[in-house]
C-alpha cells in the first residue's frame, strides 16, 4: 500500500491498538504497526517512546521487563483495563469521524 502520513493525535490510538493484540516491546510495536498497515504507516521512531511513556503515565498501558526472542532484556508493554476501555472509545470516535468525513466528501451535489 502507498505510504500515508499519520495524523497528529492518532499515534496514541495506534499504539493502544497494537498493544491490545498482545504484550510487545517498543520496537515490536513499531514493526507490528508497519505490518498491520501493510507498510503504509511509517512511524517516526523519535515520536514512539514519548508516546509510550505518556500512555504509561496515564495508566493506559503497563510495562514490565522481560526477555525478547533473541534473549535480550526488553521492556514489554501491555494494555490495562482502562486502556482497553479507552481504545474502545477512541475506535468508536474515529469510526464516526471517518463516516462523517466520508459522507461529506462523497457528496456530488449540494442537497436541496
Amino acid at each position: 500500500m502507498a505510504q500515508a502520513q499519520i495524523l497528529p493525535g492518532t499515534l496514541d490510538l495506534l499504539i493502544l491498538k497494537a498493544v491490545s493484540l498482545g504484550p510487545q516491546h517498543g520496537y515490536g510495536v513499531l514493526v507490528r504497526l508497519e505490518q498491520l498497515s501493510q507498510g503504509a504507516l511509517l512511524i517516526e521512531q523519535g515520536a514512539l517512546y514519548p508516546a509510550l511513556y505518556r500512555l504509561e503515565r496515564q495508566e493506559l498501558i503497563t510495562s514490565e521487563w522481560g526477555q525478547s526472542d533473541n534473549n535480550r532484556r526488553a521492556k514489554f508493554y501491555a494494555l490495562t483495563v482502562r486502556g482497553r476501555a479507552r481504545l474502545g472509545e477512541e475506535v468508536v470516535a474515529w469510526t464516526r469521524l471517518v463516516e462523517a468525513m466520508g459522507l461529506v466528501l462523497a457528496t456530488r451535489s449540494v442537497p436541496r
Binding site: G26, Y27, G28, V31, Y49, P50, Y53, R57, S68, K75
Partner: protein
Amino acid sequence: MQAEHAFHVAARTDDLRRAGLAPAEAERRARLEFGALPRYEEECREAAGWQPLDELVGDLRQGWRALRRDPGFTGVAVTVLACVLAANLILLAFLDAYFLRPMPIDGAARHVELSRRDSRGLVYRAWPYEQARALADAGQAALEHSYLMAESRTTVALGEPTRVVVQAVSPELFELWRPACPLGRVFGREDTRSDPAADHVLVLSHAGWQRLAAGDPGVVGRVWMVGGLPFRVIGVLAPDAHGLEPVTPHFWIPAASTTRSGPTAPLFRVAGVLRPGVSPQQAAARLTGVQRGFESDNAGAPQDWELLAQLRPTLLRERNELAPLALALLLALALVTLVAGANVTGLHLARAAARRRDLALRHTLGATRARLVRHLLSESLLLAGLGGVLACLIAVLGVEFGQRAVFSLLVESGLLPVPVEFDSRLVFVAVGLTLAFSLACGLFPALDITRADLAPRLHRDGAALAGFAHPRRLRRALVVGQVAFSVGLLVAAGLLVRLAARADDVRLGYDPQTLVDLRFEQPTGALLERLRREPSVQTASVVMRTPLTGTLARLPARVGTRAVTLGYNRVDDHFLDTLGVRLQRGRNFLPDEVAAHAPRALVSAATARQLWPGQDPLGRTLELSEIDEGDERWQTHEVVGVVDDVLSGLFFEGPDTTLVYLPATVPALVDANVLVRMRAGGEPAVTALRRVCSELAPQAACEPFGLRRVLGQQRFPFSMAARVAAALGLLALAFACLGLYGLMRFEVVQRTRELGVRLALGASQGRVLAEVLMESGRRVGLGLALGLPVCLALSALLAARLPWFQVFDGAVYVAVACGLTTAALLAAYVPARAAARADPLVALRHD
C-alpha cells in the same frame, strides 16, 4: 530508558542484518533511523513525568554553586537559621520532657491521682498507710494497678551517713511501670505476703546505684541500714528507668516496710490508671464512701469529705505553676524567631533583587512565574538543609549545657531530676521546622520579585529607574519590624537583670553569713544542749520554719473584731539570739513558756504598726486559729514583746509584712528545725556540726546548709531567667543589627550613582556620611516608636499581676533605647563610610 532504547537499536540492527546488510552498515542505519537520542530525551523525560525532578536537581545544583560564590550571604543566613532553630529545639526538648512526654506506662493518658477536699475547700493529697491501702484496694473496680507512693528523705549508713531520696511504693507500681531490671529483681506482691520480714528490701535506681555503690554489680544481696533499719538490696534498674515522678529517687522500698505510726510515718499518695470507660468523676464518686468511712483524726465531720481524682498523664504534677513560665519562654522565643525570620527574608530579598536581570531573561525565554519561584526557592531549600544540620548540633550541645545549668541546684541538693534528652522525635520536628521556616522566608521575596513585569528590567535605564520600590519598601519594613521586636526582648531582659541584681543587695535584717540550717531529722533537747556546749557554736535554737525557705506560713487571726491573716513562726527562747535580731520592747519568751507552748506572742514592728497603729502593743491580745485536720481552734495569745522587722520569706517580696512568733520547742513541736549561729563560717564549722550529730544519733545524719546558700537558691531562678532573657535579647539585637547593616549596604549600592553625582558636585564626605546615618537612624527611630509603646502596655498588664516585679523601671527603658540606637548606628556606619569614601568617578560608572 537508555537500556530500552539500546534494545530498540539492537533489534533494528538484527532485522537489517537479516535483510542482508553487513553488520556495521546495519548498525549505522539503525542508529540513523532512531535519531540522536539526546534530541528527544528531554521530551521522553517530560512525557514520563520526570521533568519536575530534573528541574529540582538542576535548581539545587545551580543554587549550590550560587551559594558557594557568595559565602557572606550563605554564612549569615545559615548562622541565623541555625541559631534560632536551635533555640526553638532546646526549648521544645525541655517542654517535651516535662509537659508533653507521657509517663512511661500503658494508658498514661488515663493515669489519675486521688486527693480529698474538706468542707473548707482545703485539698489534701496523702493518707496514712492503712487508709491509703484501703482506698487502693477499694479502688480496684475503677482503677487498674492502683498503687501507693510516698517520697521521703532519710539516711543510709554507708561508711559515712548519706542523705538519700527514697520512694516508698506498693508493688503495684512495678506491675504498672514494668521497668527494665538488668541486675536482680523488683519486689512484688508475693514478697510481702509470704514473708513479712522479706518486705525490708530495696531496689536501686541506676543513678542511685552509681552514687551509693559506685556501680558495683555485687551490690545485690547486701544489707544496708536505712533510717536505722536493715534493708536488703535486691535489684538495680536500667539507666532509663526513672520512675513516675519528676525526681528519680536513689532507691525504692516497699510501702509496707515503713513505720505506721508516730510523727515519722509517711503519708502516701494513691494513684492508678482508670479502667476503660470510667471517668475520673466516676472513680472519685465510688471512693468517696470509703473516705467518709475513715475515722477522722480529730473527730471532725467525716461526711464533709469529697474525694477527687485528677488526671496526671505527664511526669510533672504542678503544671499550673510552671505553665506561665513556659508560656513566657515560648513568647520570647517566638519574638526571636520572628526577628530572625525577618532577617533571612530581607537577605533573600536582596539576593532576588540582585538577580532581576537573570530572572527577566529566564522569563523571556519562556519560564512561567511558578517555575521562577521554584527556582528561587531551591536556594532556600539548601539553606534549610545546612541550617538544619547545624541547628541539630547546637541543640544537642545546648540541651546538655542547659540541663546542667538549670538543674545544678537540684543536683546539689541531692535530687536527681529526670534528664532531658534530644531524641529522634525531635530530629523529625527539627527537619520539619527548618523546612517550613526557610521556605516561608524565601517564598515571600520570590513571589514579590516575580510579581512586577520583568521585561522592562532588561533595559539598563529601566533598571535604574523602575521597579525598585517594592523590594526597598519591604526590606525597610522588615528592618523596622526587627528593631521593634528586639526592643521588646531587650526591655524584658533588662528588667529581669535588674531584678536579679536586686537580689544581691537585699536587706535581711540579720546576718546570714554564719547562720546554718542543721537539717537534722528528729532534733531532741539533748541535741540542742550538746550543740550549745560546742565551742564553734555561738548559739542554737529550735524553729518551726527556717528563715528564707519559701513563703511565710500564715494563720488566720482575729484582733478585736478584725479578721486578718498573719505570717507566723514557732520559735524557742534562743531564737532572737541565734538570728541576731533586736528586741525593741518588752521581753523574750521564758523557758517554761516555750516548753509549755504558752499562749504568748512576739510581734514584729510592722505587725504592731498594722494591728495597733499608734498604740503600745504590749499586753494586747490576738486570737490565732490553729487548723488541724478537720478541726479549728482559736487561741488567745498575749503580746509580750516587739521585735525588729526581718526578711524571712521570698527575697523579692521584701521584708515580712506581718510576722508573729509563738513559743514552742521540742519534743512537743513536730516538724522542728534547728537553726545554728556559728562563731565562724566555712568547712571546719560544718564538720564540727556533723560530728556532733553523728555522736548523738549515729544512723541519722544532718545536712548543715548555710543560709547564704538558701538565699542563693532563691536567687537562682531569677539569675537564670535574667541570663536566658539577656541571651535571647542580645540574639535579637544581633539579628536586627545584621538586618540593618544589610539593608544599608544594599541601599548604598543602589544609590551609588546618585551619591557619586553628589560627591562629584561638591558635597563633603561628612555630609554624605551624615545623610546615610540619618537614613538608618530613621529606621531605628521608627522601630523604637513602635516597640516602646507596646512594651509599656504589656508592662502595665504585668504590673497588676506581679506587684513585686518593678516593670516601670525608667533606667532600663532609657538604657535599651540608647543601646539599641548606638548598636544600630554602628551597624550602619560601615556602609555609610564606604559610600562617603567612594571615588565619584568609579561611582558614576556603576550600573
